[in-house]
């Protein structure tokens, strides 16, 4: 059995919560990712930045988890921002149309500057 390799850490930059994700976003990431989102929503009162800079794999279940986070954010009237996607996963965010609902920045610095 493969071992789950995912971690999510929440920190604040001003009023914005940033979720730094590490490893693989697949079914194993479900609990940790949703817990991190809840923590981020409770900590910050602005939009939430998902930092994918240290993510090396996202599968279709991972896409579904991100859709779930986006649904929660929309319900809470919070914007979800994204940074640090590789070119490949940027293409996947475009194909799946997640990019139509989330502002995507190349890195954390540009995301924080733009907001």
């Amino acid at each position: 059995m493969a071992q789950p390799i995912f971690e999510a850490k929440v920190r604040l930059a001003g009023q914005r919560a940033i979720i730094d994700m590490f490893g693989e976003i697949n079914a194993f990431a479900d609990g940790d990712l949703n817990a991190a989102y809840s923590e981020a929503q409770a900590k910050g009162d602005a939009d939430i930045l998902l930092n994918f800079a240290s993510v090396d794999y996202i599968n279709s279940t991972g896409i579904a988890l991100i859709v779930g986070l986006l649904a929660k954010a929309r319900q809470a009237r919070r914007d979800l921002l994204v940074c640090g996607l590789s070119d490949h996963y940027l293409e996947i965010f475009q194909i799946t149309r997640l990019a139509d609902f989330m502002k995507i920045y190349p890195d954390e610095q540009s995301a924080l500057q733009a907001a």
């Binding site: 493969a2 693989e24 599968n59 859709v67 649904a71 929309r74 799946t96």
Partner: protein, 176 residues
């Protein structure tokens, strides 16, 4: 992108994993050369192994990085589908993977070992409905595969383990 479902092809017209040489139904005009074949138990997470093994097998083809990343995603998703929907994560039922190349294309065939369930045609997921909670957030696998490769074919035949097997053939062009 072409999507073809061929049901109940006679075994003799299919080149199933385990027969390293031969031609596929999808492209009978092509001469395919065997590159590699693997067998993996149906355990959650093993799609990562499949992805890495195929990536290693095609290393000598020197694919552009974009094509390689797309192929890896398609292989991982098709392997996950085979383990989950075909083999129902029964560890003793393997997923078999065969890699072949021709002059202008690369083919990866991924075969499960059971299940009479017909693989549905890939549809574009309705993201708005998923965000509004009207549909499950899942259901991206076939859609992703379809968008990652130049051609996807599905064959259904009798399995040596009893029941039915599905073979998903992923083809990417290596020229043109």
């Amino acid at each position: 992108m072409t999507f073809v479902t061929l049901e109940r092809q006679p075994e003799s017209s299919l080149s199933v994993p385990g027969e390293p040489q031969g031609e596929t139904v999808a492209a009978p005009d092509k001469q395919w050369t065997h590159v590699a074949e693997f067998s993996l138990p149906s355990e959650p997470g093993n799609e990562m192994q499949a992805m890495q093994m195929v990536a290693t097998a095609v290393q000598e083809l020197d694919l552009p990085a974009v094509s390689l990343e797309r192929l890896k995603t398609a292989v991982a998703e098709a392997t996950m589908n085979a383990m989950e929907h075909g083999n129902h994560y029964q560890e003793d039922l393997p997923v078999e993977i065969v890699v072949r190349r021709s002059d202008d294309a690369l083919a990866v065939l991924i075969t499960d070992q059971g299940g009479s369930q017909v693989i549905p045609e890939p549809e574009t997921p309705n993201l708005e409905a998923k965000l509004e909670g009207k549909q499950s957030p899942r259901g991206w696998g076939l859609f992703l595969i379809k968008n990652m490769v130049d051609e996807m074919n599905i064959y259904i035949g009798d399995s040596e383990h009893g029941g039915t097997h599905h073979t998903v053939e992923l083809i990417i062009k290596t020229k043109g």
